[in-house]
Each structure stands twice: as C-alpha cells, then as structure tokens.
C-alpha cells in the first residue's frame, strides 16, 4: 500500500486486511505491532522502572544520611535478610546499589529514550506508516519485558537476593557472588537482545521509510540523534553479550575466563583452573558502556533541539555542524572506553591515547550544546513546561559535561575516581540532564499521543521542584567527592575520620532525594488526569514544523491521512515574508 491513508479512510477497501482493522483487546493494546502502541508500552515501562529504581535510591539514601538508624516498619516489610529490625544490612545496600544502576540505565532511561520516544516519534517524524519490521518491534519490547521481570525476580529468589556487584559487575567479585548475579546475566542477555532488535529496526526504518523529499539533511535533529544512537546500540552491545556469556560460563560451567590463577577468597584458595583475566571483563564492559553513555544522552539532546527550535520560533543555529558533530561523536565513542579504567594501571602509552580521544570527543558535545545555546540568542521564547525542561537541560548537562573533563585525564582521575565526585558528575549528565530532556519530550509529544495537553500549572510545579531538588542532591556530592569520600560505602563514609567534616552533606542529599520524590507526584497525577481531562488540541498545538504534526492527534493506524511529503528543512520558523511564523516541512 503506497498511500497509508486509504486504509483509515476506506475500511471496506482494506477488507482483505481485516486482521488489522478488527483487532481484539490483546492484539490491539498488549501484543500490538503498531509502533505507537509499542512506543507507549516502552515509555510506560521505562517510567515505572525509573520510579522503581528511584525508590531503591531513596531507600539507600536513608542509610547514607542516618547510617545504622532503624526503620522498624520497613524492616517488618523487607524481612530479616535485608533489614533486620529495620537496620539496613550492607549486603542489602549493595543489592540496592547494583540494581539502582542497572535498572536506571538499562530498564529506565534507555527504554524511555530509545524504545519510547524512538518508537513513537521517529516514524512519525520521517512520515512513515510504521516501523520497517513491526513484528520484530513487538518482539523487542517483549524481550525487554522478560529482562525486566528477570531483574525484578532476582530480588525475591530464596538464596541470596539480587546482584550485589555494582551495575558494572566487575570480576572476580561478580564471578564468585551469590545466585542473584546469574539472574542479572540472564536478564542482561534479554535486554541486549531487545536493544539489538530495536536498533536494526530504527536504522532500517530511517533509511527506507523516509517520506518523499525527506533527504538526510532535512531530518529533524531528533531523527539524527536516534539514528546515531541505534548504531551505537547495534555495534556496542554485542561485546557485552559476549562478556555476559563468558561470565555465565564462569559461574555455571566453572570456566576461568575472568578468574586469575591463585585467587584466594576469604582465606581459601579457589579450586578453579585459573589463567583468566579480570581486565578482560572491564574492557568488554566499557566497550559497551561508554557508547551507552551516548545512548543515554543523544536522544535527550534530540528532544531538546526539537523543543528549543519550536519555542524560540527560530531555526536551530548551526544545524549542519550539529549533525556532523553527532556523527563524529558516534564514531569517537567507540575508542574512548578505557578512560573508565585509568585505575587499572594501564601504563602511560595507553592512558595517553585514551585521554587524547576523550578530550577530542568532548569537542562535538560542546559544539552541539553551544549551538543550542546560541539558538536562544535574540529569541522571544515561549516558556511552556517542555521549554522549561529543555532550557534546564542546557546548564545541567553543561555542569555534568565540564566536571567530566578532570575524569578524562589520567592524573586527575586517579584521586577522584572512587569518590562521590564521579557520582555527582554522571548524575548531572543523566538525571537533571537526560531525564529533564525526556520529561520535556513527554510534555511536548503528549498531545500527539493522546490528543490532549498536559496541565501547565502542575507541569511548572513539577519542573521547579525537580530542578531545585536535583541540585540539592548532586551539588553536595561534588564537595564530598573533592574531600575524598568513597562512593562505595554503605554508611556514606561515617567510618572514616577524614570524612567527618563533610558528612552533613549526606543529609542534604537525602532530603533532596525524598523531596524530589514528592515533586514527582504532580507529574504522575498530571500524566493520568490529562488523558481524560487535559485541554483538547488539534494536530499541531505547538505550531511546529516537523512532519509528525501533520498527523491527527492521536494518529490512527498507519499514521497519516495521505502520504506526507517533505518540501523543505525541518526548522523553517519566522521565515521573512511568510504569512505565519512557522512554515511546516509538510506544506507544499
């Protein structure tokens, strides 16, 4: 069918495709192959896991602020193996820490940013009726779902609880850890499969299903961001899958890939064959996990670019240089991974190489961020909720990025590496950075998904509270980190004398985190309330220029009434002499 609109307009014409028109509840909302439904499934799953991962952190923050203090009622719920009498066991703290990282990265941000926004927005923005492989798309979601269930189940398995070896699962610790680690590995293999299927679908869709006239340099920046992200997922995840298989072999079949000879654990020599290499795991892990950092940030940058162009009513400044930077950044992200490993004593030659590439990769990020900032120059902005989140993204990501420079250099990384400074740095990138970008995207595309706008007042309360709380949580961590407090302690550093002068900042961080939790309530309420009670809107409530705004809100199966076509670049705002201040890409 070349004209996607005909099915919706003439149901009888499509009688031979009746299985698409008269789907039952299960095929329509649960096992759907429609990219919009799958996108929403991904987004809701991602949001739920973000909330769950955040809850784990709120629990950890209790023990960090008030180490050893009991919460009897919580102890009664969680049981003696986790919080006997309400006092958190260090082992349980380690479980929470490992699973907070894993869940936030692999089950929270990536499903929302790539699975959710990618699936929902990307086909609409390129004028496609659906993804290139709808059934693989569905499979990709259900792999993620199984992976999520596996991770959750690992908390309640009888022996040992969830993984405790950090989200990085460094060996040999994780090789000899309890059974939760095996569940973690199985869960990761599901998640990797899901990402792989999603990535090849995104790339194929972008290349093949572009609307007529939509050349690559007419892509909205968001499409470019998803396109590059998909390549990172496609090529960086398989090495982690290989590493996961090897760790699984170590744990299940008794191999020694990551176990060196003569390893002694708790005074007992291990009986394994030995000869393995723990550094191998770190290399394979970070070969994925560095590109993964860009998987987390690029979709958010894409969203922010869309919203800034729309609300400044100006074209993006330096669109081409942003695109070239993005592609360059994608390539470079494959050769910087060992800057996470300066502590392993890799030697000056290797360190010099990786710090050089690390400094080089900061250039394209700066180009993109600077272009976004210059785009604001001289604009008469609309300060709606999506724009507020997008604007906050810029300085927050800026702080995260700039504080990363000392970590990219061997000599400054070594004293900072195991401290709270690192936590503060990457959380500024991911929490008030990426998550603000994603929140901006939710408020921005919500009208497209539901046909109604989210409430602005609640949105602004959510925004203001979140922005203040995020800084209260993470700014103190820079101070603690510079004072040398280790980031791996269940008591937050209370057992060390030198940490005493800065320990009070733990209390600030914790109260910031709990207050941040409270400020998510207006968002959760708004998210559901607006489905039925939000202000009704038409196809293009933000007066935007990109193709997704030509489809009805919400778009029907097949998305567009008539085949869309692109006639010009994506951001033709305030064109001199034009009748309106926006000239959509899809209008002839």
């Amino acid at each position: 069918m070349s004209d996607p609109g005909t099915v919706a307009a003439h149901p009888s014409h499509a009688a031979h495709e009746a299985h698409h028109e008269e789907l039952g509840f299960w095929r329509k909302y649960v096992f759907s192959t429609d990219h919009k439904v799958i996108g929403i499934q991904y987004a809701v799953t991602g949001l739920l896991f973000l909330l769950f991962g955040f809850s784990l952190m709120m629990l950890m923050r209790w023990n960090l602020a008030y180490p050893g203090a009991a919460i009897p009622w919580l102890g009664a719920i969680l049981g003696d193996s986790r919080m006997p009498g309400g006092t958190m066991l260090p082992e349980f703290y380690n479980e929470l820490g490992a699973m907070h990282g894993t869940i936030m990265v692999f089950l929270g941000v990536v499903p929302l940013a790539v699975g959710g926004f990618g699936n929902f927005v990307l086909p609409l923005q390129i004028g496609a009726p659906d993804m290139a492989f709808p059934r693989i798309n569905m499979l990709s979601y259900w792999c993620l779902f199984l992976g999520g269930i596996t991770m959750l189940a690992s908390f309640v398995i009888p022996a040992g609880g969830a993984a405790q070896s950090g989200w990085t699962s460094y060996v040999p610790l994780s090789d000899i850890a309890g059974s939760g680690q095996t569940w973690w590995l199985v869960g990761m293999i599901f998640l990797i499969t899901s990402s792989l299927l999603g990535a090849l679908n995104f790339i194929t869709t972008t290349i093949q299903l572009r609307a007529k006239g939509l050349t690559f340099m007419r892509f909205p920046f968001f499409v470019w961001a998803q396109f590059v992200t998909a390549f990172l997922l496609l090529l960086a995840f398989p090495p982690l899958e290989a590493a996961g298989v090897m760790q699984l072999m170590d744990r299940v079949a008794g191999t020694s890939f990551f176990l060196p000879s003569g390893l002694v654990v708790s005074g007992q020599a291990l009986t394994n064959a030995g000869g393995g290499n723990p550094l191998l795991w770190q290399h394979l892990f970070w070969f994925l996990a560095h590109p993964e950092v860009y998987v987390l940030i690029l979709p958010a940058m894409g969203i922010v670019a869309e919203i800034i162009a729309n609300n400044t009513r100006k074209p993006l400044w330096g669109y081409r240089s942003m695109v070239y930077s993005l592609v360059f950044l994608g390539f470079m992200s494959f050769i910087v991974w060992a800057h996470h490993m300066f502590m392993t004593g890799m030697g000056t030659a290797m360190a010099a190489f990786f710090q050089t590439t690390t400094m080089i990769i900061s250039i394209p990020s700066v180009v993109i961020l600077t272009s976004l900032m210059i785009s604001l120059w001289g604009a008469s902005m609309r300060f709606n909720t999506p724009m507020l989140f997008a604007l906050a993204f810029l300085p927050m990501f800026g702080i995260g990025g700039l504080t990363g420079l000392p970590l990219g250099l061997n000599i400054t990384d070594i004293p900072l590496h195991d401290t709270y400074y690192v936590i503060a740095h990457f959380h500024y990138v991911v929490a008030p950075g990426t998550i603000f970008g994603l929140m901006a995207g939710i408020y921005y595309w919500y009208p497209k998904a539901t046909g109604r706008r989210m409430n602005e007042t609640l949105g602004k309360i959510h925004f203001t509270g979140s922005l203040i709380c995020m800084n209260i949580i993470f700014m103190p961590m820079f101070i603690m980190g510079l004072a040398g407090v280790s980031r791996r302690l269940a008591d937050g550093g209370a057992s060390y004398d030198f940490a005493q002068p800065v320990l009070h900042w733990n209390v600030w961080s914790s109260w910031g985190a709990w207050t941040l939790g409270l400020f998510q309530l207006p968002f959760i309420f708004n998210f559901f309330w607006s489905i039925w009670n939000g202000e009704k809107v038409g196809e293009n409530p933000w007066e935007a220029t990109t193709i997704e705004w030509s489809a009805p809100s919400p778009p029907p199966h097949g998305n567009f009434i008539g085949a869309p076509e692109a006639y010009r670049g994506p951001y033709e705002y305030s064109v001199p002499g034009a009748p309106k201040d926006f000239w959509p890409q899809f209008e002839a």
């Binding site: 492989f133 093949q208 496609l234 398989p238 090495p239 290989a242 090897m246 072999m249 000869g275 290399h283």
Partner: protein, 196 residues
Amino acid sequence: MEIPYTVAIRRDTGLTNGKIGIWLFLASEVMLFGALFASYILIRTGAPSWPRGDTMLNVPLATVNTIVLISSSVTMVMAWASLMRGRFETFRIYMGLTILCGLAFLVIKYFEYSAHFHEGALPSTNNFLAIYFTLTGLHGLHVMGGMAVNAYFWGPGAKLWKTNPTWFTNRVENAGLFWHFVDLVWIFLFPTLYLL
C-alpha cells in the same frame, strides 16, 4: 497495513527493508564473535602455556565438518538460484540438503563433544577448553537458529511462493546470508581452535 519496500526495492537506496535488516544483524554478529575472538587472543597471549589445538581436539572430524558446512553453503546458493529461475521443486531439494548438512554438522559436533566429556575434558578443565566450548557452543546455537529458519522456508513458509514469489525469494536470500555468515564463522573457528 503493508510496510513499503518490504517486497519492492526503494529506488534511491536500491534495497529492500529485509536486506538492510539482515546486514545490520550480521554487523552486530560480527561484533559478538569479534569480541569472543579478541578475548581468545587476550587470554592466550596472557597464558604461560597454551596447548596446540590438534593435541586436544579431533582434527579429522572437524575437517569433515568444514567440508559439510561449505557444501551446505553451496546448496543454499543453489536453493536461492532455483527460486530465481522459478523452479520451486529444485529449491525444495537444495533447501532440504542444506538442512541435512546442518544436521550432519551438529551430529558430528555431538560426537566430538561427548568424546571430550568422556575423557573428562570439560569447560572448567582449562581456558583452552573453556574458549573452545564457548565459541563452538555459540556457533552451534547459530547453526540451530539457521536450520530453524531454513526449515521454516522449506516447510510452512513456502506457502508464500504461491502468493508472492519475489518476496519469498528475497526472504530465502536473506536466510542464505545468515547461513553463509554462520559458515564463515566456522571457517575462522576451525583453524583458530583446531590448528593453531
């Protein structure tokens, strides 16, 4: 709703969706096996001693397996070429032969594995056997996956030939690309593990 360019070729890219999809999938597979080969190199160069493959493994059986797998790639091409010429019955024969070759490969592999297990040569014995079992095991899973796909096109999937022969031919071609990749991985595995 039909997805554009599932059967027809998009003019400006010159490709169908499936063709791009399978090549991207193969790219990720290259990274998967590439990471394992890299691990093999790292572990081997770091080992104080490393056994020669032919002292631990059965080279004659693996040679037979190499021939079996290369033959299966030839029959796979013939199966696709038969469809291109519109000869469905010949396709059935060649595709059947491809599946049988895959089966023969797995049976021979089974004899190899069970001989190792009888001698007490397990993945946990040393890192040579660990990487051997991991690489060949993962490759074996790929052979099974390829056979499942081929069996589908030999059996129930062949119905598509009647309604849309072009699409069916393209799908067989893509399955063939995967099968050749699995073959190619073995071509690297055989000398690396058995001969070096």
